[in-house]
């Protein structure tokens, strides 16, 4: 027996409500993050990730309240990403009951932010979230994988593997590797990308993007992922977290 592979549902939230693609008829309020979090916890989710896609600063305050309410009722780890710009933002999220915080574009804009967060709160709270794709511009990056922003629409100049290495060096305690190429295809995770990240990373790697069938999760784990994250397949009830774990167990993977 050893450390179990984690299965992590991800919820997009805006102004404290779950947005996008949730289809649970038996919920009183499918937009209520607390109710959904409890449902996923009951299915055996090992962690939950909230991605705050709130557009305005005014609405940002609602995320703290949402995290607090969830943490009061759901006793599994919570990660919150989206819109984190400073170590003070992290302090507020942790004080609200978040266990980990995902940082993405703010760290691309100003990499020392990673050091500031890790030095103040420890590497274990800091998840570097990367939206990665194969670059459309030949020779742009050595590995061919580039870091993107704006939901994958804009390519940066950053090689995804170099950025992951730098982020770990600066104190990231985990990598959330989201493949823009695979995202939404339901054809499975980008196994090459997962493998490359596992090879370079001394911290846990979460594979994200592309899950469509229960078999896909075991493939990501075989490629080296320490955890697997998915959103729509769970929200649309194409499978439960329990289904994924049953399949992993059948494949001989340690799960909780």
């Amino acid at each position: 027996m050893s450390l179990a592979v984690r299965v992590i549902p991800c919820l997009d939230v805006a102004a404290g409500r779950v947005v996008k693609g949730v289809n649970f008829e038996n919920l009183r309020d499918a937009g209520d993050p607390v109710e959904l979090a409890a449902l996923y916890a009951a299915q055996g989710a090992d962690e939950l990730t909230f991605l705050d896609v709130t557009a305005t600063v005014d609405d940002r305050a609602t995320v703290y309240e949402m995290v607090q309410k969830t943490a009061e009722q759901v006793f599994i780890p919570l990660t919150v990403g989206g819109g984190v710009r400073s170590a003070d933002d992290v302090a507020k999220l942790l004080a609200s009951g978040a266990d980990k915080v995902g940082v993405n574009s703010a760290a691309i804009a100003r990499p020392p932010l990673l050091n500031e967060i890790a030095d103040r709160f420890g590497a274990q709270v800091l998840v570097l979230s990367l939206d990665v794709k194969r670059t459309a511009v030949p020779g742009r990056t050595p590995s061919g994988f580039v870091v993107t922003t704006h939901g994958g629409r804009r390519e940066t100049e950053l090689d995804a593997l170099d950025w992951a290495r730098e982020a770990i060096e600066r104190g990231a305690g985990e990598l959330l590797v989201n493949s823009i190429d695979a995202d939404g295809t339901k054809d499975g995770f980008d196994l090459e990308l997962v493998g490359l990240m596992r090879e370079l990373s001394t911290v846990p790697v979460i594979a994200s993007g592309g899950a469509g069938k229960v078999e896909h999760f075991g493939q990501a784990i075989a490629a080296g992922a320490d955890a697997v994250l998915a959103a729509s397949v769970f929200h649309l009830r194409e499978m439960t977290v329990g289904d994924v774990k049953d399949e992993l167990r059948r494949e001989g993977v340690d799960v909780r």
Binding site: R6, E72, P77, A123, T202
Partner: protein, 215 residues
């Protein structure tokens, strides 16, 4: 003391740790919970929970600033239960070595908190534990996993058993080598994992601790 007939637990608020979750989990587990940094209240409670997140040295600084070590010492001298969680457990040992810096701990137990030797660190996620049969904390929760998130741990236990006392119960886990996942030693208990983040198994462990408070 509790006024509601439930054991009263103080979650020590000294600026470290996810005290919100710890407080709510203790309530769920049946305690009457107060979150405070007040020394007298921390002394008087049936149980004291010491959380802790972040660097060993930062947690020691924060604890020292509220004279938390003194409260813990006095409680233990009087046989009053204390439960440390995560870095709140680590600081119970004599020393912590992080990033090559050696920081003195509270020294309730001998031993050093050192970096884990695994290839992937932090040790993050749900792991199994090997608890002794006599363990009170793990009573009835033998085959469950608990949530860990840490890069350092105590990896040796060397207190000679005192024949006049119940021997310390030491629970082990493995991540690139054996480390201490929990200790029950007289009034002082501690877990390296987060019971407040370990779902139903964690709540049951807290229930076991709460049930032991008034024995």
């Amino acid at each position: 003391m509790s006024t509601k007939g439930r054991p009263g637990v103080v979650v020590l608020d000294y600026g470290s740790g996810n005290i919100h979750s710890a407080a709510k989990a203790l309530e769920r587990a049946g305690a009457d919970v107060t979150v405070t940094g007040d020394r007298q209240k921390a002394m008087d409670a049936d149980g004291l929970l010491v959380p802790g997140v972040g660097a060993f040295s930062a947690v020691m600084d924060q604890l020292t600033a509220v004279r938390g070590g003194e409260v813990i010492d006095r409680r233990l001298a009087g046989g009053r239960p204390v439960l440390g969680i995560c870095v709140g457990m680590q600081v119970m040992f004599a020393d912590g070595i992080e990033r090559g810096v050696d920081t003195e701990g509270l020294g309730e137990w001998p031993g050093v908190v050192e970096p884990l030797k695994a290839e992937v660190v932090p040790h993050m996620g749900w792991n199994t534990v090997d608890a002794p049969e006599e363990s009170v904390l793990f009573d009835g929760i033998r085959d469950e996993r608990f949530y860990f998130v840490h890069s350092y741990a105590a990896q040796d236990w060397h207190i000679d058993p005192d024949p006049k006392r119940r021997p310390a119960q030491v629970t082990w886990a493995d991540h690139g080598g054996r480390f201490i996942a929990a200790v029950e030693n007289g009034p002082l208990s501690a877990t390296q994992f987060h019971p407040e983040k370990s779902g139903d198994a964690g709540i049951r462990l807290l229930q076991n601790w709460i049930a032991s408070l008034r024995r």
